[in-house]
């Protein structure tokens, strides 16, 4: 706390009281999760993430909350992660009907990015995934299941019918929660759905008590494409090669199964309703440009004949003004798609369930590229979380939540 106080004094005056509250939560949790040599570095990272949240306007608040929550969870600070995910999900779950922000984002003069960020469906699903994960860490499998079910709902809006509600990860975790809650019938329902999507992945056995969940890679990227950036396209994260995971626990080796590709989920959604509006704006922009060019040409062509036209100079100036106005309208129509994204999501999630050896407290994770070549630089030991009911959870990432393709918060 001394370090926290000193840093607070040295920090910018812009840091609000709310920021202080969250940073305090961060530091308390981080101290428990990290060894001493990493403490100062950890505080810096968490402070930076939280500062982005407190400095963000309403448009970007949720995005920064999600990113900071992911950092907090990765750095072992569950209380801060919980608070941030709750705040973000309150906005994500709220129905934006007849709000001024939404109306503005639809209007002619604003780009799509002027709307409050709620994320695309795959990002909303992942917000529910992490909230459920935090619940599972606390042993609250009922609310975890509720989160996973709600997450699946967010995936129900895909334009392409075959990809609606196909987020297998949510079904797997929903089934796992039901199994842990002693509701095998409900678990079977979820696992039956899951098996339709991932027929090669075995479902957990009734006596399994521990879930191993490992995230690999970096977040899918959103890019603007098309005329003036009017199209939203997805690209896989850059600069990572891990594709598979190995787990060793008390001499027992396991290979978690690939349960979900987040990039695949992002890129198979199909068109969005807002794309139609942006296309319409683009068409209007194009028409205005054409009108401007045409009217300007008319004015130029008529210029030599101005003395022959009664008061022709004024008329020609008016025509030129119309051309200028059309050009101005064209240049000010907002047609850019919203390419902001949750930048510290993983690329994929792998999972396996086991009956935990009684003395197991941690496991060694190793990672492999697509040719099964080991990537020893990513190896790590991860502690097992065991809840009051004896359920075990081992969750980790191949990379820190700060290892992203763009600067945190952009």
């Amino acid at each position: 706390m001394t370090l926290f106080t000193a840093r607070r004094k040295a920090s910018s005056n812009n840091t609000s009281a709310a920021c202080g509250r969250f940073i305090c939560l961060f530091v308390v949790g981080a101290a428990a999760a990290f060894a001493q040599p990493n403490y100062a570095q950890t505080v810096d990272v968490l402070e930076q993430a939280m500062r982005k949240v407190t400095q963000a306007d309403a448009r970007g608040k949720v995005m920064h909350q999600l990113q900071a929550a992911t950092v907090a969870l990765d750095f072992g600070n569950r209380p801060a992660a919980t608070a941030l995910f709750d705040e973000a999900l309150a906005s994500i779950s709220a129905v934006y009907a007849q709000t001024t922000q939404a109306a503005r984002a639809r209007s002619l003069w604003y780009n799509e990015g002027s709307k409050d960020f709620k994320g695309e469906p795959y990002e909303r699903v992942m917000a529910h995934y992490y909230r459920g994960l935090v619940d599972m860490m606390s042993g609250d499998y009922e609310n975890a299941r509720a989160s996973f079910k709600s997450g699946l709902m967010q995936d129900a809006f895909a334009e392409e019918e075959q990809h609606r509600a196909d987020f297998a990860l949510m079904l797997y975790l929903e089934g796992w929660c039901s199994l842990r809650l002693g509701a095998p019938a409900l678990a079977k329902e979820a696992f039956d759905e899951f098996s339709k999507l991932r027929p090669n992945v075995p479902i957990p056995a009734a006596d399994h008590d521990t879930l191993i969940l490992v995230e690999t890679g970096k977040a899918p990227r959103k890019l603007q494409d098309g005329v003036g950036g009017n199209k939203l396209v997805y690209r896989q994260g850059k600069r990572f090669s891990e594709r598979a995971v190995g787990v060793e626990m008390l001499g027992i080796s396991m290979k978690p199964f690939l349960i979900e590709s987040i990039f695949w989920q992002a890129s198979t959604r199909g068109g969005r309703a807002i794309d139609g509006i942006i296309d319409g704006k683009l068409q209007l922009k194009s028409n205005a440009e054409a009108l401007s060019t045409m009217v300007a040409d008319v004015a130029n062509n008529l210029q030599p004949y101005a003395p022959l036209i009664n008061r022709g100079g004024g008329a020609l100036a008016g025509v030129a003004a119309v051309a200028g106005l059309a050009a101005l309208i064209s240049s000010n129509i907002g047609t850019r798609a919203d390419s902001r994204y949750w930048n510290n999501l993983p690329d994929a999630v792998h999972a396996v369930t086991i009956t935990r050896p009684p003395s197991a407290t941690d496991a060694r994770l190793s990672f492999f590229d697509e040719t099964a070549r080991p990537l020893p630089a990513l190896d790590r030991n991860v502690s097992l979380i065991v809840d009051a009911a004896g359920g075990g959870l081992l969750w980790s990432r191949s990379r820190r939540a700060t290892d992203i393709d763009v600067k945190l918060g952009e």
């Binding site: 934006y96 002027s114 009922e142 609310n143 079910k149 309703a273 200028g324 000010n332």
Partner: protein, 219 residues
């Protein structure tokens, strides 16, 4: 000629004015400042939907309505509130399961129900606080160890056994359409079980369905 010049100027000024207005309207979003005025804290009625944010999950008005309804129903059930001696009942969330897609602290429902029942029944129903059993056991141990005296109630061999206990389930059915309309049907069942025979002596159901459509920019 002079007249023509003035007309051109007027047109030019008009064009500039329009340009300035349009530019003002379309200033780049990153340079705009959100100058929305704040709003002082206000108390809101827990039985009405929130003015700030609404979704399709369980909200305060749902909890208030369902617990009020269940309380009235229990009190009006023959053989419960008119029994002599008054029955002992446990109302807590231990056997109240949430199978729905709404994250919820179940204690919000069972606590309100127990408190309202306790107040309204005026001793016709006796509620056992099994959720605070640890606290009771610790105090009893202090008395039996002689650390404290027996109080004014006196000692009993054991704590109160119960006649009935509340169980129940929260379930939901979600639906989503391509048009962005989402709906959630919530069904909350309450059952009071005879803790000796296992029979259900009272049951109640509360159900509602909410639907909403998010703005097109989020679909």
């Amino acid at each position: 000629m002079r007249h023509i010049t003035i007309s051109s100027h007027k047109t030019g000024f008009a064009a500039i004015a329009v340009s300035v207005l349009l530019s003002a309207c379309a200033t780049d979003q990153t340079s705009r400042v959100n100058n929305t005025a704040g709003r002082p804290t206000i108390y809101e009625d827990v039985k009405t939907p929130s003015s700030a944010a609404q979704g399709i999950g369980i909200e305060s008005q749902d909890i208030a309505s369902m617990t009020d309804q269940m309380m009235r129903d229990i009190l009006a059930t023959p053989g419960l509130a008119d029994r002599t001696p008054p029955p002992r009942i446990i109302v807590d969330s231990a056997f109240f399961t949430n199978e729905s897609s709404s994250r919820l602290n179940k204690n919000l429902i069972t606590d309100r129900m127990r408190v309202e029942l306790t107040r309204a029944s005026r001793g016709r129903l006796i509620f056992v606080g099994r959720h605070l059993a640890n606290m009771v056991e610790a105090e009893r141990q202090l008395k039996r160890d002689g650390v404290t005296d027996a109080g004014t109630i006196g000692k009993t061999k054991g704590t109160a056994g119960v006649d009935y206990r509340l169980g129940g389930r929260i379930a939901s059915l979600d639906a989503a359409g391509k048009s962005g309309v989402v709906s959630r049907y919530q069904q909350i069942t309450f059952e009071l079980l005879d803790m000796e025979n296992g029979t259900i002596v009272w049951s109640g159901i509360y159900e509602f369905k909410k639907s909403a459509q998010d703005d097109i920019i989020y679909r």
